[in-house]
């Protein structure tokens, strides 16, 4: 893999991780509120992480566009700099990249002032929706125009990945952190975990549904799966996702009932969520590697 491809993979991972965190933190705020937990105790730290995630999103977008310019021009990164404006202003990919970057910039600006308001929460959600829509339209799903079933499926797919991975990441590493979770009553932690688990399950169903639709739409080349680097990455990705689903299943059917009985059980749920985050990050990295690579020439 050359420098351009590495940069494409790295920037896509950065961008998607930022999006996933922001979706997760948006949901966590709602679940905390619905569980009767005082949000004010969480807000300052959550805001800082949100700013970092949105910042990563903006940076990732800019770097991704430079890497895309180099890939489109078939040149190195230095030679791509003079072509950057042509890419940004003259291609659909460039227009989409700019809009995605703008959406992340708006989220950053909205999270900058301290405190929260209903208006700001809604504006953040709208910006994330615009980001998801734009990013989805930059691939093949956008080929048939902005009002196609393929694009709708892709938007839902990408958003559901944000919900699933965001719920896992923000809950496992932030909300359920041992120092924070002591402020929860037993009822509150149970309610939070139930809301998180239900949303993650719905998201996985949406991912499977929309993904199966896309697979059915583009079917016919699975024979190429074996014997190429591309196929190997894909198989690794499938393995990681299946592992994450298995961990999610364990938490749902074993971890959550145990967490309602003891704080040790809650600790196990947290550890499983943290492990699940690593698997999903690996899957996200593999996905980024796949999209930046040329598939085998025979495709």
């Amino acid at each position: 893999m050359d420098a351009v491809a590495l940069l494409q993979v790295g920037s896509a991972l950065l961008l998607d991780t930022g999006f996933v965190w922001l979706v997760g933190s948006w949901l966590a705020r709602r679940w905390l509120h619905a569980s009767g937990v005082d949000r004010d105790g969480f807000e300052p730290a959550l805001r800082k992480f949100d700013l970092a995630a949105a910042g990563l999103g903006v940076l990732g977008s800019a770097v991704a566009m430079l890497a895309a310019t180099a890939a489109m021009g078939g040149v190195g990164l230095r030679e791509a700099c003079p072509m950057f404006w042509t890419m940004v202003s003259g291609t659909d990919y460039g227009h989409g990249g700019c809009l995605a970057m703008l959406a992340m910039l708006v989220v950053f600006a909205l999270r900058l002032p301290r405190g929260t308001s209903r208006f700001r929460d809604r504006a953040v959600l709208l910006s994330l929706a615009i980001f998801a829509f734009t990013r989805s339209s930059m691939g093949h799903a956008g080929e048939d125009g902005l009002w196609s079933v393929a694009l709708a499926a892709e938007v839902l797919h990408f958003s559901a990945i944000g919900v699933w991975m965001g719920a896992v990441m923000v809950s496992g590493w932030f909300v359920l952190d041992a120092s924070r979770v002591v402020a929860f009553s037993a009822d509150a932690s149970g309610r939070y975990l139930t809301l998180m688990s239900q949303s993650a399950l719905l998201a996985v169903i949406a991912i499977v549904g929309t993904g199966s639709y896309s697979a059915w739409q583009r079917v016919g080349t699975v024979a190429h799966l074996f014997g190429s680097a591309y196929g190997t990455i894909l198989l690794v990705k499938i393995g990681l996702v299946l592992g994450a689903i298995a961990l999610g299943g364990y938490n749902k059917f074993v971890g959550l009932p145990a967490a309602s009985r003891s704080s040790r059980g809650l600790g196990v749920v947290r550890a499983v969520l943290q492990l699940e985050t690593f698997l999903l990050l690996g899957a996200l990295l593999a996905a980024a590697a796949l999209t930046s690579q040329q598939p085998p020439a025979s495709l």
Binding site: A68, A71, M72, G73, G74, T86, M87, G90, T91, D92, Y93, M138, G139, H140, G142, E143, V204, I207, V208, G211, S212, S214, A215, Q217, R218, V219, G220, T221, V222, H224, L225, Y230, G231, L234, K237, I238, V241, L242, I245, A246, G249, F253, A287, L290, T291, Q294, P295, L299
Partner: protein, 122 residues
Amino acid sequence: MKHLHLLAMTCVLTGAMFASPFAAAHAKLTGSEPAAGATVSPAPKALVLTFNEKIEASFSSVTLKDAGGKDVASAKAHVDAASPAVLRLDVPVLTPGAYTVQWIAVGHDGHRRNGDFTFTVK
């Protein structure tokens, strides 16, 4: 047991689903005038390359070389106004002989593909 079934079904469907990006199409030449390997008479006034998807004009190109490897067309290829998946290259009067068409096509998704084919003017 019901839960296990649900989990197994989810695993199978996810496996099927994550095969989808692998099968994603990229800019591919689906047809051309003159066709690859064709012998034509009279000589074409333009080369018309049709792809399977919309082409980004700024980063796509078509060049025509004669049997000696010399560039024949001085014009730049442009995307057809009526069809965004078609690249056209206006060419001067071609003398009889073999020609090679080299193309670079950047698709809507930013991926770059290239290829070439030959034709003969009788």
